[in-house]
Amino acid sequence: MGTRTRLVGRHIATFGGVVFVSSIVFGALVWWAPGSPQRIDAGAQLDQGFWGWLLSFWLGLIQFDLGPSYRGIPVDQLLVKGAIKSLPLIVLSMILSVGGSLLAVAIMGTRASSSFPLVRTAIHSISLVPVFLLGYLAVVLFAVPPDGVFQALAAIAILAVGDGMLTDIFLGIDDEVDQLLDRDFVHSARLRGVPVGPTLARHLALPLAQIAADKMAYVVGGVLVIEKVLGIQGIGWMGYRAATHHDFLLLLAITVAVTSLVAASQLGVDLVRLATDPRTTPNVSGQEVG
């Protein structure tokens, strides 16, 4: 059990390290770049120097009080406001994409997807279209109303499909199912009449989580674009505006938040692997090699 706890600890430490170092990197960018707070926000926090400024940012992060943004609204308030709009988009589009792929694989069921060239081509070609184009088409051709449920639904659907999301997830799952169904223990289960469904589910859980986590960074990028195109005032939209208005404190906060979201999804996968796969913890007795 000790090794397992240690591994969990190591993964959490990695997560913390990624967020920590990322905040330093982005902080340095913000601090030393041309058009940095020195020029834009003259006077405020200048006397502390870089490390002092960063330290006060970290302290603020822990106390959840990051101080006012460029326009005077508290940064944490903005962050929460944006997250309420953006997180559902991210989560639901991920669920839609994974669920849709699973459904497609289940419907194809008896055959490998390679024997459905049309379906494959269709998925490929829809998914190839960039998110901004899909958003554009939604606005321009289908006249999605500027606010309300339809807009959110359109955004979720577009995120779930665009930028190659659907293709990557669908093909990833399809490939995984293909390999799984050719494993001997699945053959053995089928011959004995043991239901195969639970076996498949057990073995698909981890790859699914992995695929979804790998796509996380893309979805976050997509959120930025789709929020800008459709005018949804979520984190992406705010980040974009913060960048144009040189609201660097808000920008840093959003960047760190987004980075931790992506890193957290990877952490989640690591923890799922630790929890489900007995092979992750090394054999205590120590395998000898012949």
């Binding site: 001997d184 011959l191 004995r192 007995p278």
Partner: protein
């Protein structure tokens, strides 16, 4: 006298040419097999001869490879005949294998023990899943009792502890025993063991083969052992089928192979000579691999390697051309022994 539990008539398995065009390639050609009730049948041949493909297609557990089958097969679980739906290696998912028979009627022990165990489940749970197939509605305690019983049956030391292990914590020999226990726990009438000793230590090899033979005798179960090793076969077989490049070139009862008598197929002789040479420490016959087999279906499949054609003795000097162009007929030295060879059929 013959009471087959599973038999086939003219079974073909063809695999589509992977490079797209062309007609499918036959990897099993017109196999006639009868597995006798309660007997041990061995299917012998070198790797790539189609032994595994044949049995997997028959039991409906072939992989996701594109292919087609033809022919017929029946199973007789208890005297009454059921047609076995032949499924070629084409679809990746076909639901339960052998749907017309009771679940768990047949069991399969695979070549690599580590592949045939689900890496995410404890050994006990995997055996337990089989137990619940054979007896539905058991209490957890009863299932556990039976699981321990099966683990004991395959001579695993300390079954209680083994049941708690994950597959990656087992050694090769132990894993193969667990795989056998999993296959046995559905109380099958037929057990197919596909090269069960190949990946294992030499010292465990005989234990596993002995265990399989002993279990089948004790339970009146039919065993089909797929192997390339004549030492294994000689040790256990009641009935033999010899396969070469997709064709069954010889079959017959044990005595036809291991007692002096009328002729055997030259390929069978080659296999036997090799195995004997190793046992006795003498030099094995040389293998002639240089010549490529004829691509067309005509002629004997073994012609390109046959020593009787390569180094013809005076009495067999006329063979070469005929063997390469004429499909050899079946010759029956005795009622239950069949050899597919022109030379054996026409003794000089």
């Amino acid at each position: 006298m013959s009471d087959p539990i599973l038999f086939t008539r003219d079974l073909w398995v063809r695999v589509h040419d992977p490079n797209g065009g062309g007609s499918p390639i036959a990897v099993v050609r017109g196999a006639n097999i009868e597995l006798q009730r309660g007997a041990t049948t061995c299917l012998v041949g070198e790797s790539g001869s189609g032994k595994t493909v044949l049995m997997r297609a028959l039991l409906g557990i072939s992989g996701a490879r594109p292919g087609v089958t033809a022919g017929t097969a029946w199973a007789r679980p208890d005297g009454s005949e059921f047609p076995v739906p032949l499924v070629g290696p084409r679809k990746r998912w076909r639901g339960r294998a052998l749907p017309s028979l009771r679940p768990g009627w047949a069991g399969y022990v695979f070549q690599h023990p580590s592949h045939s165990l689900d890496p995410l489940l404890r050994v006990g749970d995997q055996v337990g899943a089989s137990v619940t197939i054979a007896h539905s509605g058991l209490t957890p305690a009863a299932v556990k009792r039976r699981v321990l019983h099966w683990l004991e049956t395959v001579h695993l030391p300390n079954p209680e502890a083994v049941a708690q292990l994950f597959p990656h914590e087992l050694s090769g020999g132990m894993a193969q025993r667990v795989a056998i226990a999993i296959a046995l726990a559905t109380e099958p009438d037929l057990l197919v063991a596909d090269e069960p000793t190949t990946g294992l230590d030499w010292s465990v090899r005989r234990d596993i083969v002995d265990l399989l033979g002993e279990l089948c005798r004790a339970r009146g179960m039919s065993l089909l052992l797929i192997s390339h090793d004549f030492q294994v076969v000689e040790h256990i077989a009641d009935q033999l089928y010899v396969m070469f490049r997709g064709e069954l070139v010889e079959d017959g009862p044990r005595r036809a192979f291991f007692e002096p008598g009328p002729g055997s197929h030259p390929y069978t002789r080659e296999l036997q000579a090799r195995s004997r040479a190793l046992e006795e420490g003498s030099s094995p016959p040389r293998l002639h691999l240089a010549e490529q087999p004829t691509s067309s279906g005509a002629g004997c499949v073994y012609a390109h390697r046959c020593p009787w054609i390569r180094e013809p003795s005076p009495e067999r000097s006329a063979l070469g051309e005929r063997c390469r162009s004429v499909r050899p007929p079946d010759f029956r030295p005795s009622s239950d022994h069949r050899v597919r060879c022109i030379a054996v059929g026409e003794p000089t």
